[in-house]
C-alpha cells in the first residue's frame, strides 16, 4: 500500500480517537446528553471500510456511528453540533448521537433499534438494482444484531435478488454486557452467511490495512453484479457500551490485553512509520550514496516523526474547532421541529 493512503488511514484513525474522547469529555461536562456510544478501539473497521468505499456508495449505520459519518464527509463540526443537539448539526438537532443523517453525502442514517440497518440497506440496494446503477450499500451492524429476525430476513432477500449490499459486522464481542459466547450458538458471525449463500470472510478488525484491502475486494465483486457479501471484522471497544455503562462486566485482563497489544491506532502508527536502513546497509551503499541516503532517510524520518506530531495537533485542532462550532450553534425551535416532520407534506394543506 502506498504511503499516502497509509497516512490518510492514520489521520482518520487519529481524528476518530480524538473526536470520541472529546465527546466523552463534553458528555461529562453536560454539553452532550442522552445515550452516547463511543468508538475507541474499533477505529480500524470504519476507517478501513469507508476509505475503501466509493464516493457513490450508500452507508447505513448503527447508533455508534459518529466516525462513520465523518468518514463519509460530514464535517466534525456538524457531527459535534448534532451531539450537542444544535440546529447546525447534520440532523438539525432532531436526531442526536444515534441518528446522524446526510442525504447529500449518502449517509442514510444511524439507527437506534438493533437490527434495523439490514432492511433499510436491503431496500436502498433494491432501489439501486431497479435503476441498475453501479453502486453499493454498506450496512454496518454489531455482533448482537445477528440474532434479530431482520438479519436473516434481509440476508435472504438480498441473496435471493442479488442485491448490491456489503454487510459489515463490527464484532466487538459484546451485545452491551453479554459476551458473544453467551448470546450466539455460533460465535463466528461469518458462518451464518453461508445459510444464505452469501460469500463471507472473517478479518482482523484491529488491522486497518487488512480491513481496507478486504473491503476493496468485496466491493469490486459487488459492483460487478455478483450480489451481496458479508465481512466480519473482529474488534474490541475500549469503553463501555455507552457513557452510561462502565463496562465492568469485562475482565480487566481482557481489556488491557486489547489495549496493549491490539490498539488499532498503535498498529497503524507502527505500520506507517518507515523502516530505517541499518548502519551496515548505509555503509555498504558507498560514500556518496551513503551521505545522500543518510540525509534522505534522516529527513524522511524526521519528517515522519514530526508529521505524526503534526497530525496529532491537526486533529486536536479540528476537534477543538468542532466543539467551538457546536457551542456557538443556536438551538432549533419548535417551529423547526414541526417543519422537519412535515418535510414530506408537499403542498397539501390539512383541514
Amino acid at each position: 500500500m502506498d504511503r499516502e493512503t497509509q497516512l490518510k488511514l492514520l489521520k482518520d484513525m487519529l481524528l476518530a480517537r480524538a473526536f470520541e474522547e472529546r465527546a466523552a469529555e463534553e458528555y461529562t461536562k453536560g454539553n452532550i446528553a442522552g445515550f452516547l456510544h463511543l468508538y475507541p478501539g474499533e477505529e480500524a473497521v470504519a476507517v478501513g471500510v469507508l476509505n475503501a468505499a466509493g464516493p457513490s456508495d450508500y452507508v447505513v449505520s448503527t447508533y455508534r456511528e459518529h466516525v462513520h459519518a465523518m468518514l463519509r464527509g460530514i464535517s466534525p463540526d456538524q457531527v459535534m453540533a448534532e451531539l450537542f443537539g444544535k440546529k447546525d448539526g447534520c440532523s438539525h438537532g432532531m436526531g442526536g448521537s444515534m441518528h446522524l443523517f446526510d442525504r447529500q453525502k449518502r449517509f442514510m442514517g444511524g439507527y437506534g433499534i438493533v437490527g434495523e440497518t439490514f432492511p433499510v440497506a436491503t431496500g436502498i440496494a433494491y432501489s439501486i438494482a431497479m435503476k441498475q446503477q453501479p453502486e453499493a450499500v454498506i450496512c454496518f451492524f454489531g455482533d448482537g444484531a445477528v440474532n434479530q429476525g431482520t438479519f436473516h430476513e434481509s440476508l435472504n432477500m438480498a441473496a435471493l435478488w442479488g442485491l448490491p449490499v456489503l454487510f459489515v459486522c463490527e464484532n466487538n464481542h459484546y451485545q452491551i454486557g453479554t459476551e458473544i459466547h453467551r448470546h450466539s450458538a455460533v460465535a463466528e458471525v461469518y458462518k451464518r452467511a453461508c445459510g444464505y449463500r452469501i460469500p463471507a470472510r472473517r478479518i482482523d478488525g484491529m488491522n486497518v490495512l487488512e480491513v481496507y484491502e478486504a473491503t476493496g475486494q468485496a466491493l469490486q465483486q459487488i459492483y460487478a453484479g455478483t450480489g451481496p457479501q458479508l465481512l466480519e471484522f473482529e474488534t474490541y471497544r475500549f469503553r463501555g457500551h455507552s457513557m452510561a455503562d462502565p463496562g465492568s462486566y469485562r475482565p480487566k485482563v481482557e481489556v488491557e490485553a486489547f489495549k496493549d497489544q491490539e490498539d488499532p491506532v498503535a498498529i497503524a502508527i507502527r505500520e506507517t512509520l518507515p523502516c530505517y536502513p541499518s548502519a551496515d546497509e548505509i555503509s555498504a551503499a558507498g560514500p556518496d550514496v551513503i551521505n545522500k541516503l543518510c540525509s534522505q532517510m534522516d529527513n524522511l524520518g524526521h519528517l515522519d516523526n514530526r508529521q505524526l506530531e503534526a497530525l496529532r495537533s491537526e486533529v486536536a485542532q479540528i476537534v477543538d474547532d468542532a466543539v467551538a462550532f457546536a457551542l456557538a450553534s443556536p438551538e432549533p425551535t419548535l417551529e423547526d421541529a414541526q417543519a422537519y416532520l412535515d418535510c414530506n407534506r408537499q403542498q397539501e394543506v390539512l383541514i
Binding site: Y58, H92, F101, G109, A121, G123, Y340, N344
Partner: protein, 330 residues
C-alpha cells in the same frame, strides 16, 4: 363517466395508473406477483410490469416493509402489501420506528413516500388471530397518515393520492369490502385524502363512522328512517388526520352524536373521535355522545358469536333510538 366495479378493481386500476405513470412506483408483498394478490388487487400487474416492480416476497413482513422504507429513502415509491393487518404487527418496527421517524430525525432531509396497504376487520369466521382491526394501534403515531376507504370510489381516489404523497401512509382496506361494488368515476377530481364524506343527510342525529361500518350504518339509517328518525351518516375516510370540521358542521344541525366503529372501544378510534368533538362542540350536544364498538373480546371462530361481537344494523338502530328519545320533548 362512472363505471361500476368491485373495490378490488378500483385499487387495481389505481395501482396500474400510478405504475404506468411513474417508473419509481413498485409493489411488493406476499403473493402479489405471479399469484395476483390474495384479494386480486394486483391482478395482471406482474405480467405488465415485471418482477422488479411487482415483487413476490418471502414471508418476512418486518424486513420487506423495512425494505420499502429503504427504497423510499432513494426516491422510489414502494407500495407494500401486507396480507392482513394482523401480520402488520410484525412490521411495526419498520412503520413506527423507521418510516415515521426518519423524515423527522434526519431534520427533514428524507421524505418518506411509502404506502402500506393492508386489510383489517372482521371477515367470515377467520378466528381471533385473523380478525383484528388494530387502527387504534396505528393512530397514536405522529407522522403517520391512515386512509380508510369505504367505497370503490374512495379506494380509487385515496390509493392514487397515497402513492403520489411523500408521507408514510397506511391504506387500511377491509376484507369484506374487496368484493363490494360501487360506481367509480376515474375522471372526477378527488377531494383531499383526509376529507370526510357525508353519505346521508338527516336532522336528528349524526353517525360518524369509517370503513365497512359505513355500509352497516347506512343500512341502519334506512331502518331508522322508517321509524321516523333521520340520521346524517359521515364516513371519515381518514383516521389521521381527522376532518373535525365536517363532523362539527353536522352536529350543529343534529345536536346528537353516535360513533360506530368495528374496533374495540377501549382507547380506540371512537374514544378519540368523541374526545376531539367534545372539545370542539360540547355545548352543541343535547345528549351525551355515544360509542358503538366491538366487544372487549377477541373474535370467536363461532359464526354467531362473531356476528355478535361487532356492531350490527340492529345495534345501531337501538343506540340511535335511545339517543333520540328526548328529541320530541325538546
Amino acid at each position: 363517466m362512472a363505471e361500476e366495479m368491485f373495490y378490488w378493481q378500483a385499487l387495481n386500476r389505481a395501482l396500474y395508473q400510478q405504475m404506468e405513470a411513474d417508473d419509481s412506483v413498485f409493489l411488493l408483498g406476499e403473493d402479489v406477483g405471479l399469484y395476483g394478490g390474495s384479494y386480486r388487487v394486483s391482478e395482471g400487474l406482474y405480467a405488465r410490469f415485471g418482477e422488479w416492480r411487482v415483487r413476490d416476497t418471502p414471508i418476512s413482513e418486518g424486513s420487506f416493509t423495512g425494505l420499502g422504507v429503504g427504497a423510499a429513502l432513494l426516491g422510489s415509491r414502494p407500495v407494500v402489501e401486507i396480507m392482513t393487518i394482523n401480520f402488520a404487527l410484525l412490521a411495526l418496527d419498520a412503520i413506527i420506528n423507521m418510516a415515521t421517524k426518519i423524515p423527522f430525525m434526519s431534520g427533514g432531509q428524507f421524505p418518506m413516500p411509502l404506502v402500506v396497504r393492508t386489510p383489517g376487520g372482521v371477515a367470515k369466521q377467520l378466528a381471533a388471530q385473523h380478525s383484528q382491526r388494530l387502527e387504534q394501534t396505528l393512530m397514536n403515531v405522529p407522522g403517520l397518515r391512515i386512509a380508510v376507504p369505504a367505497t370503490p370510489q374512495d379506494a380509487w381516489w385515496q390509493l392514487n393520492q397515497a402513492i403520489r404523497s411523500d408521507e408514510p401512509i397506511i391504506v387500511l382496506e377491509h376484507e369484506l369490502l374487496y368484493f363490494s361494488k360501487g360506481e367509480v368515476d376515474t375522471q372526477v377530481e378527488a377531494p383531499p385524502m383526509h376529507r370526510a364524506r357525508v353519505h346521508r343527510q338527516g336532522a336528528d342525529l349524526t353517525i360518524v363512522t369509517y370503513s365497512r361500518m359505513l355500509q352497516v350504518s347506512l343500512q341502519a339509517a334506512e331502518q331508522l328512517s322508517a321509524q321516523g328518525i333521520e340520521a346524517t351518516v359521515i364516513d371519515l375516510r381518514s383516521l389521521r388526520p381527522i376532518d373535525w370540521d365536517s363532523c362539527v358542521q353536522s352536529i350543529e344541525q343534529t345536536h346528537r352524536l353516535l360513533v360506530v366503529e368495528e374496533d374495540s372501544s377501549f382507547a380506540g378510534a371512537g374514544a378519540e373521535i368523541i374526545a376531539g368533538l367534545s372539545e370542539r362542540c360540547f355545548y352543541l350536544l343535547d345528549e351525551p355522545p355515544k360509542r358503538l364498538a366491538a366487544r372487549e373480546l377477541p373474535i370467536a371462530y363461532n359464526g354467531t358469536l362473531e356476528a355478535m361481537s361487532i356492531p350490527r344494523p340492529a345495534d345501531i338502530v337501538a343506540a340511535a333510538t335511545d339517543l333520540c328519545q328526548t328529541k320530541d320533548a325538546i
